[in-house]
Each structure stands twice: as C-alpha cells, then as structure tokens.
Amino acid sequence: MNALRRSLGNGLVQAVLVVIGLVWLTPLAGLFLSSLRSSQDNAKGGWWTALSGPGQLSFDNYSALLKNAGMTQAFWNTVLISVPATTLVVVIAALAGYAFAWLDFPLREPLFLLVVALLVVPVQIGLLPVAKLFGALGLFGTIPGVVLFHVAYGLPFAVFLLRNYFAEMPKEMLEAARMDGGSEWRIFTRLVLPVGRPAIASLAIFQFLWVWNDMLVALLFADSSSQPLTVQLQSQIRQFGSNIDVLAPGAFLSLIVPVVVFFAFQRHFVQGVMAGSVK
C-alpha cells in the first residue's frame, strides 16, 4: 500500500517536472521556429503552425543575415570584445589573486576587503564618469574602451575567486618551490597557474558569457562601427513585429554561442556561477 502510494507520488512528480521542462523549452523552440519562417508566415500566424506545416521552414533568414554587412560586422565585434575582455581579466586577476594570497605588500588586507566590497557595485554608477574619462582619452566609442570597462567591472569577482582558490594551495608546495630558488614569476607560471586551472576555467567561461551577453555597457561605449550583436539587434527592436525574420535569427545567432559554451563546459560554468553568487 505504502509502496503503491510512493510510486504514485513519484509518477506525479515526474509528470510535474516533465510539464515544467516543456514550459522551459517552449519559448526557445518558439524563437528557433520563428527564425526559420518567412516574414509573411510570421505575420499570418504563430510558430506552432509550422509543426503541422514544416514546409514553412527554411534557412533563408539566416543566409540573408549572413549577407547583412551590419550583422556580420556586429558578430565579429562581439568576438573582438569578448575574447580580449576574457583574456585580460584572467591574466590580471590571476596575478593579483596570487599576490593577495601568497605575497606580502603594504595594505594587503584592507585592499582585499575593498575588492570584496566592490563585488556588488552596479555598473550603472560607472557609466557616466567612465564615459567622460574615455572621452578625454579618446577611448569612447571604441572596442578597447568597451573591453577595458568590462575588464574593470569583471575584476572584483575574478580577483576574489582566484585569490580564494590560490589560498587553498598547500603551503609546503610553494615553500618547496621557493627553496629551489624559483623566482615569483616562475612559481606563478609553472606552479600557480597549472594548479589553479579549474578556477581559471570557471572564471574564463563565466566572464566570456557575461561579456558576450552584455548590452548595457556596449550601448553606451560602442559606436555604430564597434557595436556588438546585442546592440545591433536592440537598435531594431522598435519595429518589433514587422522584422521578426531579422530579430529571431539574430537573437538565435547571439544565444547559440553561449549555449554551446554552456553545454560544453557546464560543470565549470555552474561552478563559476555558484562561486559568483552574491555578486
């Protein structure tokens, strides 16, 4: 009797979870199917009509998108922003994280507490002052400007994560390396970086997705020739409804890269997000 009730309960749980899973999948499926339909079909009816009439589906919107110079430029800009912004954060934060964990310098403790405090500073507060600063430096509207802003606002979390990871390294390991007369630089590149690889991978993936997906920072700091995909698509949102054949494939193109990265490195990503909670 009890076993029966338990298995019934389990069946109910399974059913509920299946329904929730479908609810989660539907909006994404809707975007994908919409991206494969002509603007006339999208104007006539919902994407679900394509389920019974798969003849509507074609990759025409995507080939049109690839011929759209503005879109391809924006796609490359996204890459040109995300890759350096990720690399720089990893390098700069690894150096600082190691110093905060194992090296001695004045004000080390208060400076690290400052980094912890900066974790939650909203980017909004930096927009205006940094815009003025970049204007004076000639960086406003350029890709390096966007990259630098992302690096700066990614650093608190990055330094925090790596410092904590490096600090867990066994002391004996470092002492042995120092006894052997290795320079700090050598210890850093030969010992700390390899040992810290899991944390560095989590950080890199997290930061990459963060920058790839950003719209707000680029909206202000990128001009029309350096704008990433998100901003390019955002500029067309006003005509929403008449341009689903552009917006839907564009949005799908912009989300497929992070989703593939997510599935390829899910463990690292989840760890990065978990470490970044309370950010």
Partner: protein
C-alpha cells in the same frame, strides 16, 4: 574584532613568505606590487574613482555647473517617472527573489526524486547562458497579444474557450424595429404566456451557421398551450433573395444553440436553448406579460486573451521572463546545499515515522537556511540592477509603466533626459541599495577566514 581577524589572516601566508633578509624582502614587496598593480589601477580608475565622482556629481545640477545640495535626491521622489521606477523596483525586489527562492527550493527537492535529475537541471539552468536581449526577444514573441501569434495568449484563449465556450453568433444582430437592443448588447421582445413569438436575426456569417440548422417555418407555426410560451429564433434572410422581412419564409433557417431567457419584473424566470430548427419553449408560466430575451453572451466577440504587455501587466510579465532565466540558478544552488545535508538526520527522522512534509518543514528547510539566504541575497542584488529585460520587453508606449531604477537612470542620463545630476543621484541610490549586500559579503568573507 577587526584587529584579531586581520592578525589571524596575515599569520598564515606571511609565514610562508620569503626568508626575512631585508633586501630580499623589499624586493619581494616590489614584485608583489607589480603583480597587483594592473588590477588596482583598473579598479581605482574605472570603479572607485567613478563611484566617488558620481557621488559628487549627484550634488550638482543638470549641466554640472551649479551646486544644488540634495535637490536631485528630493527631485527623485517628486518626479512621477522616477517615483514610478522606485515603485516598480520595489515590486521587483519584493516579488522576484522570494518567488525564485521558493520555486528553486521546491524544484530542488522534487528533482532529487527522479532519475533524470541532471538533464532537468541542465535544461532549467541553460537560460542563464542566454543574454537578456535574446530572452527579451523570446518573450516579446511569446507575449504577443494576438492569440494567433503569441503562444501564451494562444494557450490562454484555448483554455478559456474550452471551459467557457465561444459565443455562437458573434456577428448576429436583431432585425431593427422588430427586436429591441439593450445597452449590454442583448435583444428582447415582449409576449404573454400562451403566445408564440418569432425572433428575427440578421448578420450571421455563412460559416457561423451550424451544420445541423434546419428551416424554422414548421416550428414557427406551432401554437402555444396555456401557461406555455413558444417561439423560434431564425435567420431572417432567404439565400438567393426573396422572402419578407420579419416573416418566417420557407427557406429561412432556425438558429440552433441560442440561449433564450424569459424575464418577469426584471427577474429571469425561465431559460432555454434553441433546437436545430431554432425553436424554444417555456412551460409552466403563470399568465401575464414576459420579456423574451436573447442575452449578450450569444453575441459576445471572441475572447482575445490577456494584454500581457499592456500597462497593467507589463511588470509581472517581465518578472515572468526573469523567472525563466533565474529559476535554474536557484534550483542548482539549493540542490547543491541539499546534497550536502547530513543524510543520517533525514534517515533518523524517517525511521521515527516523520512524513515527507514534516521532514521538509522541520529538517530540510532549517538546515538549508544559509544556502537559501545566499540565493535570496544574490537575487535581490541582481533584481535591483535589472535593465536589459525591461528595456527590451516593454514596448515603446508602455516603457514608462515598466520603468525600473536602472532603466530610469539610463533614460535620465543618456536617453534624452540628459540630466546627469539626477542620473548620478539615481546611480548613487542603486549603490546605496546594494550596500547591505556589500556589508553581508565582507562579513561573510571575514567569517570564512577564521
């Protein structure tokens, strides 16, 4: 307390430092400074300095030339647009984190019971990798008001129609002069018990006429007995022309499925639904006059669903999109806390005969409290800063109904407002709101260092 924590913290790593030769030590410090310099330079120039600048700038007027003291802060609570933003952000903070934490907790507990837990977690977590912009476009599509295009309204309309039914004759009108139309759209005529009435209608689209509809003439000729009221509702239109207005001509069809009510002194005393030939019959009436009424439900326009992105629902709708993105995060984090729970405590409770609900309520939730707090605080911080989703999902005209602090700050500073004093003040307000989280983080970090 500060001193002790700091001392303890320094004891470990410093002991591991280079041998205490003075020159070596100075050199070591120089190297250490070189290691941290790039990070400190960027943080100082692009984070710390801007915070200070914004705080200062918030005390100056729009052009930045005149010191205005706290005027910008007072303006924030006077200007209807920023007030609206403050109100909406409050709604976000009150609703979204609690909802997400609760949902995450329930799902984390449920998903442990199935074998495909990993796949489910992956699926729900995946939206975290999707940009707010893409999510915004996804939900603009889903929330489309036209039930033929927006999947949500398509679902709502089909559920609504399944339960409430659709009106049969949305386009039908009563023949003018023969039937009186009430203000609510229903039609009526008067008759007494023992009478037989005809109710002529026009304007029924050929497609709306049910297949089983049959000519009304025979039924119209039937006489009513005492205490009985008979009648037909028919389409007063002969296909192909001919026929007389107000008369039931041979080819004219009855209108089946029409609701008819008999009213006396404003009270419904009997109701019926017409048969295939459009006939209806009320029996057992006391003598006297009645109003025969075709209620407006026969003619109601088809249900069009919910205006998700209208001024009233736009904020809940955007919060819905936010749930899609963040539920997986809450579930995975809480799930990790769940798997770290001491199994023996749960087993012991089960042995003692506690049921699942008691275990959940008395053991799981209290033990999970620290994780739940972290999830909740994280969500509060993120919800306060929500920008892209509101900016993308709210259509232009509804933008001001959906506005939150972050979007308002953007609009005021860059999007046409061009008041950098007020904009800075809004930025500072955002910062002030996250200060408790800042304190929480610093505390948590210090405790972890003990």
């Amino acid at each position: 307390m500060t001193a002790t924590t700091l001392e303890k913290r320094q004891a470990g790593p410093r002991a591991a430092g280079p041998a205490p030769v003075r020159r070596g030590r100075r050199r070591g410090r120089l190297i250490a400074l070189l290691f941290v310099f790039p990070a400190l330079l960027l943080l100082g120039a692009l984070v710390v300095y801007p915070v200070l600048f914004s705080v200062g700038r918030s005390f100056f007027d729009a052009s930045g030339t005149r010191f205005v003291g706290g005027d910008n802060y007072a303006e924030m609570f006077r200007d209807p647009a920023t007030l609206k933003a403050i109100r909406n952000t409050t709604i976000w903070v009150v609703v979204a984190p609690a909802l997400l934490t609760g949902l995450g907790l329930i799902l984390a507990v449920l998903v442990e019971k199935v074998r495909w837990a990993t796949a489910f977690k992956l699926l729900l977590f995946m939206p975290m990798a999707v940009s707010f912009l893409a999510a915004g476009i996804i939900f603009r599509l889903a929330y489309d008001e036209d039930p033929d295009k927006g999947v949500l309204n398509a679902a709502v309309v089909s559920v609504h129609d399944a339960f409430k039914g659709t009106s049969t004759y949305p386009t039908a009108r009563g023949r003018t002069g023969l039937l009186t139309q009430d203000r609510d759209g229903s039609y009526r005529t008067t008759a007494s018990a023992g009478d037989s009435v005809t109710l002529p209608m026009v304007g029924v689209l050929p497609g709306d006429l049910p297949r089983d509809a049959s000519p009304a003439r025979t039924a119209a000729a039937r006489k009513a007995g005492p205490g009985e009221l008979r009648g037909v509702v028919y389409l007063d239109f002969t296909p192909g022309g001919g026929g007389e207005q107000g008369k039931v001509d041979p080819k004219e069809s009855g209108l089946p499925g029409m609701k008819v009510e008999a009213e006396r002194d404003g009270k419904t005393v009997a109701s019926a639904t017409t048969a295939a030939d459009g006939s209806f019959r009320f029996a057992g009436l006391t003598a006297g006059p009645y109003t025969v009424k075709l209620p407006e439900s026969n003619f109601a326009p088809p249900y069009q669903g919910v205006s998700w992105l209208g001024p009233a629902l736009v904020t809940p709708a955007i919060i819905g999109a936010y749930l899609w993105i963040w539920t997986g995060f809450a579930m995975v984090l809480i799930g990790a806390g769940l798997s770290a729970l001491p199994r023996d405590a749960l087993e012991a409770a089960r042995m003692d005969g506690a049921n699942e609900w008691q275990i959940f309520r008395r053991i799981t939730v209290p033990l999970l409290a620290p994780v739940l707090t972290v999830v909740f605080v994280t969500l509060v911080i993120n919800v306060m800063k929500v920008f892209d989703l509101v900016y993308i999902i709210a259509p232009g005209p509804v933008q001001e109904d959906a506005t939150v602090l972050a979007t308002q700050m953007w609009l005021v500073s860059f999007g046409g407002g061009n008041d950098q004093g007020l904009g800075s003040a809004l930025g500072v307000l955002l910062l002030l709101l996250v200060i408790p989280a800042m304190v929480f983080n610093v505390r948590r970090f210090r405790n972890s260092q003990r």
